[in-house]
């Protein structure tokens, strides 16, 4: 008899019952529709216990790796504690231990959480400053081995959080973290798979994290990193990327700018144009896209039409407050 917990519902799953059956029987509020493992409305995430892989069929491997499963076809062997797919774990305090400028308007922040904080490279966290203001930032490093979380913050002219981070958040400052969230993560198991990691601006942060994670797992297939910016000033991280490419022969770096002069190792062109020109056939590739929302949306479609499978395209659009939709009825 396996036990499943979801929200305030604790229920034993009967022999012939699915997790969904049991939860609904116990009065839990779980969305569902087809009850046959197809529509994915009943997708939940197991934060404790391993869900049956048979209940992960049809989910992209990134979500499966993060414990997502379809409740209507799940007959678990393990006890499970489940949450809704978008739920963020409770708040953990973290201290800023380092803060360094990576470019005119990009700050690298390294934080040490006060309690174990499980996060995969490429995911993001919600960072709250003492007065409660919250923004999301992606993890650029391998936090488990480094012992700290690394974020890359673009300092925006009227950005409340980014300005605070750049000016007031000196080492020793305490912030609060909730999360992790997002599913742009490396999935071990296909070491020869070609990877395309493309992003604009600080979209480089999660891509760096994913590349590092891939290399840590001994990934052998080509890892193409394409980093775009409006101008040369918007690109950062040249040294770090060069270091990766130098020490790993399967890492290929392309940097591009939309406007203005190029320099050594930087080509002219928008991210979408450069990708369309250099990656005509992405059949069998795994694609990670991070950064500007319009660009990410365009690239999702472009890479799909170039042959990448829908469940091999992972996107994380960096929305700013300015992108928030106006209140609607």
């Amino acid at each position: 008899m396996t036990q499943v917990r979801f929200d305030t519902t604790d229920v034993d799953v009967g022999e012939r019952e699915s997790v969904l059956d049991a939860l609904l029987r116990a009065g839990a509020d779980v969305p569902y529709s087809c009850r046959s493992g197809v529509c994915q409305s009943c997708c939940l995430r197991a934060v404790e216990g391993t869900p049956p892989s048979a209940a992960q069929v049809g989910l992209p491997p990134t979500l499966a790796a993060l414990g997502h499963f379809l409740a209507c076809v799940a007959h678990p062997k393990d006890d499970l504690v489940c949450v809704r797919p978008g739920a963020l774990a409770g708040a953990v305090d973290a201290t800023i231990r380092e803060r360094e400028s990576l470019a005119a308007d990009v700050v690298r922040v390294r934080l040490t959480p006060s309690a174990p904080f499980d996060v995969k490279a490429g995911q993001y966290v919600n960072l709250a400053r003492p007065d409660g203001l919250v923004r999301s930032y992606s993890i650029a490093n391998l936090a488990d081995t480094d012992g700290y979380l690394e974020l890359h913050v673009r300092v925006i002219e009227r950005g409340a959080m980014s300005q605070w981070i750049a000016t007031d958040a000196t080492p020793g400052t305490t912030v609060s973290l909730r999360g992790p969230a997002g599913s742009c993560v490396y999935v071990p198991g296909t070491p020869d798979e070609p990877l395309l990691l493309a992003g604009s601006g600080t979209g480089l942060a999660p891509l760096l994290g994913i590349a590092r994670d891939a290399l840590r797992h001994g990934h052998r297939g080509p890892i193409h990193v394409v980093h775009g910016g409006r101008t040369a000033g918007a690109l950062y991280g040249a040294d770090e990327l060069a270091r990766l490419a130098h020490s790993h022969s399967n890492v290929v770096v392309t940097r591009c700018v939309l406007e203005g002069p190029t320099s050594d190792g930087v080509v002219q062109g928008g991210l979408d144009g450069v990708i369309a020109a250099r990656f005509a056939d992405l059949t069998g590739w795994r694609v990670y896209l991070c950064g500007n929302p319009d660009l990410v949306r365009t690239l999702q479609q472009d890479t799909f039409l170039a042959g990448a499978s829908l469940d091999a395209i992972h996107a994380d659009a960096f929305l700013t407050r300015a992108d928030a939709p106006a209140a609607s009825s």
């Binding site: 529709s33 197809v38 529509c39 994915q40 799909f304 499978s309 829908l310």
Partner: protein, 129 residues
């Protein structure tokens, strides 16, 4: 008698079919605009549910779901010609996956049976499937 869904190979075949079908739709200027602001992840699940339904697989789509789900597209001008395009690409997709002409005809019939729901109009009296 097994369904086309089962004969094609069930869920894994549908996952492949979604890629093939959805690519055809996005590349077709007659219907691509209806996908302009679509969240591709959510589309994946919806297309899978649709393909499962029309190949006779397990599904819980109701006429009401089809009506509500397409209402905003009808407002953008979705009409019979677009439904025809969908059925055309459905057939081509299934043919690529090895379905026989009889199966494809059956699928077209199933897709046609929800045409009035998709376009949010009353079925002609007496017409039923």
């Amino acid at each position: 008698m097994t369904s086309l869904f089962e004969r094609l190979g069930g869920q894994p075949a549908i996952t492949k079919a979604v890629d093939v079908f959805y690519r055809k739709m996005l590349k077709d200027p007659r219907v691509a605009r209806f996908f302009a602001t679509t969240d591709m992840n959510r589309q994946r699940a919806k297309q899978a549910a649709f393909l499962t339904m029309v190949t006779g697989g397990p599904n819980a789509y109701t006429g009401k779901d089809m009506r509500a789900g397409h209402a905003h597209l009808v407002a953008q001008g979705l009409n019979d010609s677009h439904v025809d395009v969908v059925i055309e690409h459905l057939g081509a997709t299934l043919a690529e996956l090895g379905a026989k002409p009889e199966d494809i005809a059956q699928v077209a019939a199933l897709a046609n049976s929800v045409r009035d729901d998709v376009l949010n109009r009353a079925s002609p009296t007496g017409a039923s499937r």
